[in-house]
Symmetry: C2
Subunit: 508 residues, 2 copies
Amino acid sequence: MYNKRQKQNLCNGTKMLALKHIAINSFNENIVYLHRNCVAYKMDEIRFLTKVEVHGGAQPLHGFLQIVEDENIVTPDEIGLNTEAFEQLNLPEGTIVTLSLTPPPPSLNSIKRKIAGNILSPAEYNNIVNDIINKRYSNMDVASFLVASGAFMTPQEVLSFTQALIGNNTVNWDNESIVVDHHCLGGVPGNKTDIILTAIVAAYGLPIPKTASHSLSACAGVADTMSVLANVDLTEEEIHEIVSENRGVLSCLRNLEIAPANRTISTVERQIGITQQQHLIAEILAIKVAMGVTNLLIDIPVGPNSRIRNTREAMQIRKLAEYVGDQIGIEVEAVITDGSEPIGNGIGAVLEARDIMKILRNKDDAPQDLREKSLFLAGRILEFDPKLRGGQGYFVAKELLDSGQALEAMNKIIHAQGKAPQPVLGNLVREVIAREEGTVESIDNSRINKIGVLAGAIQNPGAGIDLLKKVGDHVEEGETLFRIHSMSQSEFEYACSMAEGNNGYTIA
Amino acid sequence: MYNKRQKQNLCNGTKMLALKHIAINSFNENIVYLHRNCVAYKMDEIRFLTKVEVHGGAQPLHGFLQIVEDENIVTPDEIGLNTEAFEQLNLPEGTIVTLSLTPPPPSLNSIKRKIAGNILSPAEYNNIVNDIINKRYSNMDVASFLVASGAFMTPQEVLSFTQALIGNNTVNWDNESIVVDHHCLGGVPGNKTDIILTAIVAAYGLPIPKTASHSLSACAGVADTMSVLANVDLTEEEIHEIVSENRGVLSCLRNLEIAPANRTISTVERQIGITQQQHLIAEILAIKVAMGVTNLLIDIPVGPNSRIRNTREAMQIRKLAEYVGDQIGIEVEAVITDGSEPIGNGIGAVLEARDIMKILRNKDDAPQDLREKSLFLAGRILEFDPKLRGGQGYFVAKELLDSGQALEAMNKIIHAQGKAPQPVLGNLVREVIAREEGTVESIDNSRINKIGVLAGAIQNPGAGIDLLKKVGDHVEEGETLFRIHSMSQSEFEYACSMAEGNNGYTIA
């Protein structure tokens, strides 16, 4: 794979290079730039992407070589590092460093074994994850691992992968006997029960350090919707402080150092557009365990246009999550819920935040389906408390919501996280109307999501869809089914023309 | 996957950028550099590697975005292209171009189908290969495809993949009814029958436009050994001219425009260190068909330390190659040969070239095993000629070799390709001796290869191993088993110390 003579030469450490920051951001890969006439290395003989180690910092830095032919970028005496690598090495420009070639990490052999249909051992998953964390894997290698293991993994392998992902840094909740959380597997627009149940559970007094993500393909992720109300970029210390004061918090993962391989793995998953359920279960459980969660409720919505299409698949996921949870010592309860149509009225961060606050404020026009589902899930979480009598969770949750205690808890959490500068709802509005009289028979989740995405919802919190009719509602010809909100004329037209083609509603 | 508003903005084509060449070589990926404050694009919103299209050239150029924060590299009004992309777009610096985002190619869905265990259609393989050729796949995507399809492919799928790989540019041999070639699946050091049989077949008069590769993991590839004797970087026109004049040629693939997806695929295979047999068969057959070969002999050496370990595996490869060959209209004959020990004496380009010339010159000390195997294979190729009586091939080949006609053909080919400046044999020499008396029972191919690689053989044609004893030979204690040749002191010592540990010989 590499020229031993060069390796020897480099390993001697006689040829030193001056460090330079090349201000290029390569989205998660470390790149090392050397000049074609580099004094330390004969570049003509490099035939393909080569892994190198930079020595001089606290630990060797792993990166991938690219060859430069412009002395304005790097000179033959310099070694350039892109922004990711430069920040990781953490040495000033001009520092003298040495370079060596890195042989391919032995754990790559496990990927070959996986392609050949073998079951990998816990040690193999550990080595793979450690090599990913230490940047010994190129993104190509990570993709190979995800695809090879994505074809099949035994429950034991999912467990091994989960354990490897957890890492060493686990959040410690010394004074808590139970720490709860909730995760929804997604695919249903508007389904932001997370924020409501966090308020209810916090009002009850169980600690719930909820972590959530920004969306990449849905109109809004839980972190996007919460961003409308409060700052979600919290550190581990801030989470600790807010939970000990207010019992609940809702943070995104960006500033957290937990389950460190996760960032690279999820970046590659997005880039190749492939996320397998086994990997998802491992990633979620690893994050929750690393966050110190002891009791986790997983919501698995099932519907013909949801991410999980049938109960057979949902049951497999449930059993797998329960098995892995039992083995790593986190109490997992998985509930299969109705994902056949969007939940709530608003889809998109601002509209979803509006619905949530309506529910917490007990408004008459609050969406009842989202309210009921949140109460159901919150009730299940409350029953993790051994002091609560079985079957009482729902009623306690309802009381906390109806009495305004959940709203109060939410306001405290928002205040503690830092109130967000409230974004406005998109002022370009189109009413999409029923072309015939009848009853709404179905609403296509993925179609509605697509229209919202086209309206700009992923990057633009004020864009989205406001549903006025749900399944079972009677509609007159010409009555409004939903409104499209957008901030920009071009996106607005794009979304409207898509809704004209097929608005996702079936009326019978 | 991307922000539609930005897409709209970009698609308007109102924001133009000035082209700049960023002299960085990224080993086969097109990289597009934009400044963080780019006038055409809000870079803050980009969360991961994004595929973009550059418009302005004959065809849209596909590349991957990286963000720059140094105006010395690119200014907010400029668009930088790395060397690969700049050469492909083929427009002068300063040309005004526009940019748009590229949605993920639909063929990526076929990869998901493959992971889920489906059989892909010929159209799906076609779309995948075309997207690879057009740089719509990142190297990560290519890795995903190779791993997903590497787990299992039906013979029909291997056929579909082969057909897709062939591409549109097929070399035309108008006046020839038969065009022959040979390919060895490798794994046996020193086994350079290719060059000898090319000379014999050319002397007979059958056209043999042999294509070969440089080595990446063996001491020498066929192209490396031929490089010792002649220039091997030929164009399609040169190959045509030399074959019509001399009947034979031996070129590497570098300057050839055939089977264009192959370059990216084999680059990624090397980078992830994974090459599956089905892919290899498809790649070889596609290149040979694109080269206009009608009759192909495949040598499958089998041995405990060879690439193919048992006859069961060899038979699977044979059947697969025959099936695909029959379907695409190339006559494939696959022979299973003994790969249990190195063939010939020399291992490494200069030493192998020495053995080859000894055989062609009918020297007494020429290695008989390499001579006999070359005659056997050449005989099989000659029998592709319908004019030759069955069973006569070997004898005709022997007559052409013994009479000096093969040597004459070889000299003409070398002259036509351009004689190489003969590299010297490494002058650092270590004799590795037998520690006991006995008979050589086995020689470990992979161990011998490793010692040669450490001596510098991959990059250094003069480095290598010269075997003095082969399996079955009697040795006295202290007698020389083989010599290590090297050009550099550090490599020499590295190889010698490895040979001291285990020299690969078993003496009984």
